[in-house]
Symmetry: C2
Subunit: 467 residues, 2 copies
């Protein structure tokens, strides 16, 4: 294998939103940075898939909403536009074999269950407001919340099966995991990081699923990469990072001078630099070889931060037939395996695209299946929710992110019980000249595209604070 060698002030590992934002911010600060990306494309967990006629669907992250200022600003700066998520009409809720329509965020349930869900959401928000999202690990008084799963909390706080089902659907929708998987403290951290309202996180209009990017979110990364030009190296999977502490520290040395204590070794490319930004999901960053090895607080964090599991599916029809029937295309099913759907048609409204998510256990069961089987499982659900016209799409495209070598799951990383207090400090603290970015390292909108972008900017400024 031929070995290309490059020198730079800063090397960025990963050309997703976090890595490219870091490189872009470094460039703005006058710092020479190169980006090394394993895949032959930029965008990380955002990915456009052409579906013909100049249209695309997004197989990865796609929505932006109010309060996601970093994302909204970047989209505007790059000359991109947003459009509102298609959501006019009635939503569908399915449970115990019955599908019913409703309006708003929370489906019509019996009054007791509805009241339980309402109280539970209020309690969660009140608890979340106590979490310091910048450093939950110092809040040792929150140990109790980190000792239990969301599942045990939900069992105590929702007694009716319908209310428990709704809470489960919320967990699946936000973390692509099950209530059993997630530490209660992690759920609270995440809610607080996203603005404090779990309900808003689940909403389309005015919520986290408010708007989409015309042309698809991968354009954000593609335009940043275009600005960076040949500083972005695609198709070089990083395997090893060698680093050393510099006597006296490199931080005090002016940029552009001094030694290069970091060597990033990819298949076919070696980059030496003064500092590095590792912009990968923690579970993936933990698989690199580090020399010297990571301190145990960092390694323990990457051992524990698990990737969610989702299969994002698109059934593409000649037209959005559900609209004629007064339906929004949004559906939620407690019966599964599809847990939630959206109308994901392009701005023109044609073709009609139903987006269906398999999340958590449903995605785990489906990921290793043959694609045809997975497709049939999803279409069967869509027929139940939207009628027989859903049975025969023109096209069906999906992506099982847990099978993706460089993501090993989506939407992102979450922590099981017992991890935040002992290992949270390993999430973002630099190790010598190595800095960490990625959606999971954000304090505001952690796990979202917005958090990825701000994390890259934050990592860049750690390295070039004075510029």
């Amino acid at each position: 294998m031929s070995e290309e060698r490059v020198e730079a002030e800063v090397v960025v590992v990963g050309a997703g939103l976090a890595g490219l934002s870091a490189a872009r911010e470094l460039k703005r600060l006058g710092v020479d940075a190169v980006v090394v990306e394993a895949r032959d494309r930029v965008g990380g967990r955002t990915l456009n898939e052409p579906i013909g006629g100049g249209e695309i669907v997004e197989l990865g992250g796609q929505w932006v909403g109010p309060g996601q200022d970093h994302a909204l600003e970047l989209i505007a700066e790059l000359g991109l536009e947003t459009f509102p998520t298609w959501c006019e009409g009635k939503n569908v809720f399915e449970r115990s074999g019955r599908a019913r329509t409703y309006s708003g965020t929370i489906p019509k349930l019996n009054p007791v269950s509805l009241a339980e869900v309402g109280v539970a959401l209020k309690r969660l928000e009140k608890m979340a407001s106590k979490v310091d999202v910048s450093q939950p690990w110092v809040q040792t008084d929150l140990a109790r919340w980190d000792s239990e799963t969301f599942a045990t909390w939900a069992r105590r706080n929702a007694r009716t099966p319908a209310a428990r089902d709704l809470l489960r659907l919320a967990i699946q929708a936000v973390w692509a995991a099950e209530p059993e998987d997630v530490s209660l403290l992690h759920a609270l951290f995440y809610v607080q990081s996203s603005g404090g309202s779990l309900e808003k996180m689940l909403d389309a209009e005015g919520g986290a699923q408010d708007s989409r990017v015309v042309g698809g979110t991968q354009l954000i990364s593609e335009r940043m990469a275009a600005e960076l030009g040949d500083a972005v190296h695609l198709g070089f999977p990083v395997r090893r990072i060698r680093w050393r502490e510099m006597p006296g520290g490199v931080e005090d040395q002016p940029l552009g001078t001094g030694p290069h204590p970091v060597t990033v070794e990819a298949d076919g490319l070696t980059v030496s630099a003064r500092a590095a930004v590792v912009a990968l999901p923690p579970a993936v960053a933990g698989r690199l070889e580090y020399d010297p090895v990571m301190p145990s607080v960092r390694d323990g964090l990457t051992q524990r931060m698990v990737q969610g599991t989702v299969v994002k599916c698109h059934a593409i029809y000649d037209e959005p037939f559900w609209r004629a029937e007064g339906l929004s295309g949004q559906a939620t099913s407690a019966d599964g395996p599809v847990s939630v759907t959206f109308d994901n048609s392009p701005p023109s409204g044609s073709p009609g695209v139903l987006l269906a998510f398999l999340e958590g256990n449903a995605a785990r069961a489906a990921t290793d299946l043959p694609p045809e089987e997975r497709q049939q499982i999803v279409l069967d659900c869509l027929v139940r929710l939207f009628g027989p016209k859903a049975a025969k799409p023109e096209k069906f495209v999906d992506k099982a992110w847990a099978a993706d070598e460089f993501a090993r799951g989506c939407y992102g990383g979450y922590l099981p019980t017992g991890a935040w207090l002992m290992y949270g400090a390993g999430l973002r603290a630099p190790v010598g000249p190595l800095h960490w970015a990625g959606a999971e390292t954000a304090t505001v909108n952690a796990g979202y595209m917005d958090g990825a972008i701000s994390s890259g900017i934050r990592a860049a400024r750690e390295i070039a604070p004075g510029t």
Copy 2:
């Protein structure tokens, strides 16, 4: 880097007890196997450390006990001997600043707490008896137990602080983790795998800490390696395993014939083979690169199976001074950070060796400290437990396993909530020509040296069933 190339019928990755047992069994079955080991020594998580005068202490796994037949047989076959763990005398129990002596396994507490612990242990054993250790993942009726941590179960089943403290100490002693970390189902699986009695797992005489190996447990691996001769390659960290499914499967082809669909790439060494045994902790196995990538059930398992955290410390004195005071050298402290101690003197009784464990959170806090600080923390505890003579050992040796690149924790891997049912099937099921060994993959005595040995033999027989 020079590249050595080797061909073999089977390549074994890892020269710990599991890998060497696999290679030894393959040799017995007439199958040519080579072993590739990252470290410059064999033994994996067993490790002898010379302390002068021809004596050693064991920095890793050391005990064997009744029911660990694979270990006891192998020790005898290799011409090694065992001796009883030093345990004559009174034990010490410390809680709320008071150290008291007692006899037996369970310290003297107030009667209410003692009764609570007794009932809790009985309940655990009864629940554990329902776990099918060979495939808990098919027991979907156990989902409830996998939805909660040991901590929430213990809060419901032990109301007095003293009883909760004892249960916490038991979890720390067995998993080097905290009750918050471990799925209740994982705890039950492990108890059942170890014979069904948590109390026996904590016992010296007649229990899992019954006996030791004269000369140290690393001799087991060293003698197996000596039998295998130059088939064992030390100092070659494996980075990548390339494999392919053979049309028609290789399993039907007689050994010694056919293609070599596996290539194991280590730094400086490449081995091609017909099949592989990967005998690494799952958390470490998950960091290798696989081409093609692992199915998501396997990758999800390795993402979730976390290594426990322990610092194993030895304070070495001219003589075992505690014996003259009628003490066994065994102590348990709810005050910490040392949670448990043993008399770890060699068979001759001289020098006197106190073994002290930092486990779970105590180990996590201590792993990245400077060695002198860690030593002082431990000696301060030993003085509280055994008096001022403990303050000045002749020598102090410890090992923080979470900092070890090729273990990243000890005693072994455990599963947090939500993992057994969805990912347990990825623990042991072969993937094409790749087979999995290691203590964590055992059904009987999972996590123990005995389980490591039987897992290696099992993996060997998967590959060479007819021979």
